[in-house]
Amino acid sequence: MAWLLLSLSILLASGLAAWVLRRESIGLAGAIVGCAAGLVSAAAPLLTGRSCALSLPWSVPYGSFHLEIDALSAFFLLPLFLVGALSAVYAYGYLAPYRRSQPLGRTWFFYNALVASMALVVTARNAVLFLTAWEAMALTSFFLVVFESERKDAREAGWSYLVASHLGTAFLIILFVWLGSRAGSLEFERFGNLDSRAAGMLFLLALIGFGTKAGFFPLHVWLPEAHPAAPSHVSALMSGVMIKMGIYGLLRIYICLGPGPAWWGWLMVAVGVVSGVLGVLFALAQSDLKRLLAYSSVENIGIIALGLGLGMLGRSLGIPALAALGFAGGLLHLLNHALFKSLLFLGAGAVAHSAGTRDIEHLGGLAKAMPWTAGFFLLGAVAICGLPPLNGFVGEFLILLGAYHGACAVGHLAAAGAAAIAAIALIGGLAAACFTRAFGIVFLGQPRSRHAESAHEVGWSMRIPMAALAAGCVAIGLGAPWLLASADRFLGPLGVGAGSWAGSGARGCLLGLTLLWAGLLAIVLAAAGFRRWLLGGRPIGEGGTWDCGYGRPSERMQYTASSFAQPLISLFAPVLRTRRKLATPTGYYPGPADLATTTPDIASRGLFSPAYEAMQALLARFRWLQHGYLQLYVLQLAVTLLVLLIWKLG
């Protein structure tokens, strides 16, 4: 616990110092040292399973400075500090172009404060402390999102983010206050003992409040706006870690509420299916690389929700193996997503940094100019598609295995399992389409514009964090059986009984996986050697890409990102509602043709914008109240008095 306090104080102090003294290096050093200290604090509970707590009096009403790191908190602290430190290193190189135009000390303050507030969110055990940290997290990340405040999209994104998190917090306040009024205290440990109706309402409140932050569909609308607008290291931290705070909160409340009825799990599975499928579909339709990644975060949050939903089903129906597999899969996928999504955002940032645009249609051929970044991005892409032998596969494997357990069970559970299987399979296929498109169009082929031609490899400070994250993806992919050997520890707080993990047989499966991947590596090496041996001494020619008879192919004739996605987009047109602007060539001497497609978010277009407009229209009807006529104002006064007199005295 001392390490955590040390970490928090280092982060805050260095942030403040960076701001006041205008020295970026202090901020960077503080972030690294602070995160390292934080990692130490998380290590003990994860390794030994013992939680440590600290409770100090805090003079805020109903508040107490009650911190605790149990294995679950530590499990969330791990990616937080890891990604926090790596993104900070990355930021040092990434921010270089901005250094001349504005002082950056402030950015470092907000960054470090964001990391610190997230650490507080994860460890707080008092509602007031939790909410304060939660809102501080929102505010600091808001200021990071609007880093380029002179850009309109950044401002709009910042605003929608701020609003979304504020509305979410409104639900959370009710949630905690309600819990607190039942318990007579706002300490987490006192929460609980609720009748089922109240517990159900509270669960819904938590689902909405935390789901807004996590990005459950349709509460995700802020996400595809804010993540692209933020600087890439911030996007990495937000997408990789911050949205998981929503999942953390949901789990923490779930722990307080107890196992609950089966419909909770059903609801989570439904939320997961919808978020996952729609998230990846919208990701497929995007042409802004970071926006694509943001939607893919919605997808992955959906997968996590699926896993957790299966876990909840397992717990409420009393199937320990399902509970263990669902929760472990969901949590592992959460950790994995933190790694590969951060990696991909950092890669996207490197692309934007070096090519000057994030529009996929204008990129291409970057693998030649940026071989390192391309390699890391490819690795991240393979991982995020849930392909072997990387970490993404392991998480989805566990969830799928849980789903198959469910599908083999009796009754409704089989339907949930089948839904989960179908959804994950579809998501996996669509994700593969999405990321072959992202990687293939951006890094492969020929440059599609001058932007892409001028690209160059980024500096070491930006490559090292990517390398570390990539290494993490590989390590989890290959080392899962050992990493998850003590999954019981972080599953324990979720009510998964000791031994359920071992009983689920997942350990053996994971060993099988690792064996398989070792075999894969061996075969790949052997095949590569074989090929080298075959080609040794033979002529290896070079030429143009085969042009199918057309003599002068140009880079503009390459398949575009839009056309790549077109078959799936048109198949799912009823959901996506892509807008096409087509100018067909006409006449004997046709002029240039033009096709533009945009896919605005269905939830914001179909749900929130109309709701906002309806609200505006409704409230506009009351504007006459301020009509400007003095006599009527006085009349208003008199009538108010009269009405009150008659009502209250009559």
Partner: protein, 497 residues
């Protein structure tokens, strides 16, 4: 503290008046303005020992009980002095340009300074009087004195606003007086000495014998009457006009002190009602109702508001609504509401400071035309953004905490409607106000600014940063004595319980 000589409460009223006299002697406009600051500061210093003692649970009475100070009034007094000191300091900056360019004549500055100090005296009188009649006199005097503060710079709009303010508030205050009379009638025969008939402490002591019917009627009159001064909907109609047309320091004082004083008066009567067992929740219900109405009305108008000062004005309606709501939610609510009073006063003052200065620099209060203010005028622009975020309830600023406490009180009282309306209203306000202020702070500059204007100096920076820092501090750390003081205030309203 006991060792220090304590100036009498009457002296607190007289001290600003002395400053007032001084203004008519001096001839240099800037010095006259400095006097307003010094006089506010001196009054605050003079009041400090008494306020300190009362916040620690003592109660003072003097002049045969005509003047009194208990924790509640001491708290409001402290907030008022704080706002006055800040606003007077800000007035030096705000009027600086006008004085240098000769736009403001000596007479105008004198008029401003003396009215300013006069209002301070009147507000002090309202807060320190134990006699409800005297309290009324102070309140009415405040209305009359501040009316001319609105038209320091004469313009048709300012005149219109001033006339509306004057007339509506006068009518309201007249209602309040009828209410006072009705309450006095309700106590007929209970208080022996007719001279002490309207002494609040006497009435409280004899509360159980009050005629409930008359008390109810009286409270309704008082609620509408002082509610007009407090800016509670639907009696708020004068507020946006007056706040937007008055010079910014005056708007700050309006929002930070005068509205609170109006509500303070209602609270005194509310305590009388509360003391009657059969009316225990009756007055609270009315406060909740008006509170919710205010929040809703503010939401309607903030949604469409492009004028920065009007936006701040409507936000004052909202926050007074929140305070009233909290006051209607029992002891935890009162605690929260008092805390909110302080937070709102601090945040709103800074908001008006920044908005006023930006309005001067850009020559307009239209937020759309201020676009990019944070880059061009870092202190005022960022100040506006931060103060608005603070006012809107973004944590870790203290407003978040106090609103949380109000909500907690509402949930614990099982008032689902209150919770729903409160959240809906504040969320609508958050959505619309934050959008506009973000655009104002960072947007692409639409038009060149009117004044090149001097850069904001250290004083300006401090003026903006200190209250915000204080808000931040209170948001994460509430000192024990402060908490104790708030609890004592709440106890006053519960008749010492």
């Amino acid at each position: 503290m006991n060792g220090l000589p304590q100036p009498g409460l009457a002296a607190l009223v007289l001290l600003p008046l002395a400053g007032c006299g001084l203004c008519w002697v001096l001839r240099a406009p800037k010095r006259i303005l400095a006097v307003t600051w010094l006089a506010s500061l001196l009054s605050a210093l003079a009041a400090a020992p008494a306020v300190w003692a009362c916040l620690h649970g003592r109660a003072l009475q003097e002049a045969q009980g005509w003047l009194a100070l208990d924790a509640l009034s001491a708290f409001h007094l402290a907030v008022m002095y704080g706002v006055f000191i800040l606003s007077s300091a800000y007035a030096q900056i705000y009027f600086d340009g006008g004085i240098s360019s000769g736009e403001l004549s000596l007479a105008q500055v004198r008029q401003f300074a003396s009215l300013w100090l006069g209002s301070l005296a009147a507000l002090t009188l309202t807060l320190v009087s134990n006699n409800l009649g005297m309290m009324w006199v102070g309140m009415e005097a405040t209305t009359l004195l501040t009316a001319f503060l609105i038209i320091v710079r004469r313009s048709p709009d300012a005149l219109e606003a001033m006339w509306k303010y004057l007339l509506i508030c006068s009518v309201g205050i007249a209602f309040a007086f009828i209410g006072t009379l009705l309450v006095a009638a309700s106590a007929k025969g209970l208080v022996q000495d007719p001279g002490q008939l309207l002494h609040w402490s006497r009435l409280m002591a004899a509360a159980s014998g009050l005629n409930p019917k008359l008390l109810k009627a009286g409270f309704l009159f008082v609620l509408v009457g002082y509610g007009t001064k407090a800016g509670l909907a639907p009696m708020h109609s004068w507020l946006p006009d007056a706040h937007s047309q008055a010079p910014a320091p005056v708007s700050a004082v309006f929002s930070g002190c005068m509205l609170n004083a109006g509500l303070y008066c209602i609270l005194r009567y509310g305590a009388l009602c509360h003391a009657l067992p059969q009316l225990a929740d009756w007055s609270a219900g009315l406060l909740r109702l008006l509170g919710l109405l205010s929040i809703s009305v503010a939401a309607v108008f903030i949604l469409f508001q492009n004028d920065g000062k009007r936006l701040l004005a409507y936000s004052s309606v909202e926050h007074l609504g929140i305070i009233a709501l909290g006051m209607g939610l029992g002891t935890p609510g009162i605690f929260a509401a008092l805390f909110h009073t302080l937070n709102h006063a601090l945040g709103k003052s800074v908001g008006f400071f920044c908005m006023g200065r930006l309005g001067q620099i850009y020559g307009t209060n239209d937020l759309r035309r201020l676009a990019g203010a944070a880059r061009r005028e870092p202190v005022w622009g960022n100040g506006l953004l931060l103060s608005l975020l603070a006012i809107l309830g973004a944590a870790p600023f203290a407003v978040f905490l106090s609103e949380f406490l109000v909500l907690k009180a509402a949930v614990e009282a099982h008032r689902a409607v209150v919770v729903a309306v409160f959240l809906a209203g504040t969320c609508i306000i958050f959505i619309s106000a934050s959008r506009r202020v973000i655009a104002a702070a960072w947007g692409e500059p639409a038009a060149p600014a009117r004044l090149p204007g001097p850069r904001a100096g250290l004083a300006a920076t401090l003026l903006v940063a200190l209250p915000l820092a204080l808000l931040l501090c209170l948001g994460v750390w509430m000192p024990g004595p402060f908490r104790g003081a708030l609890e004592r205030c709440a106890a006053v309203l519960n008749g010492g319980r």
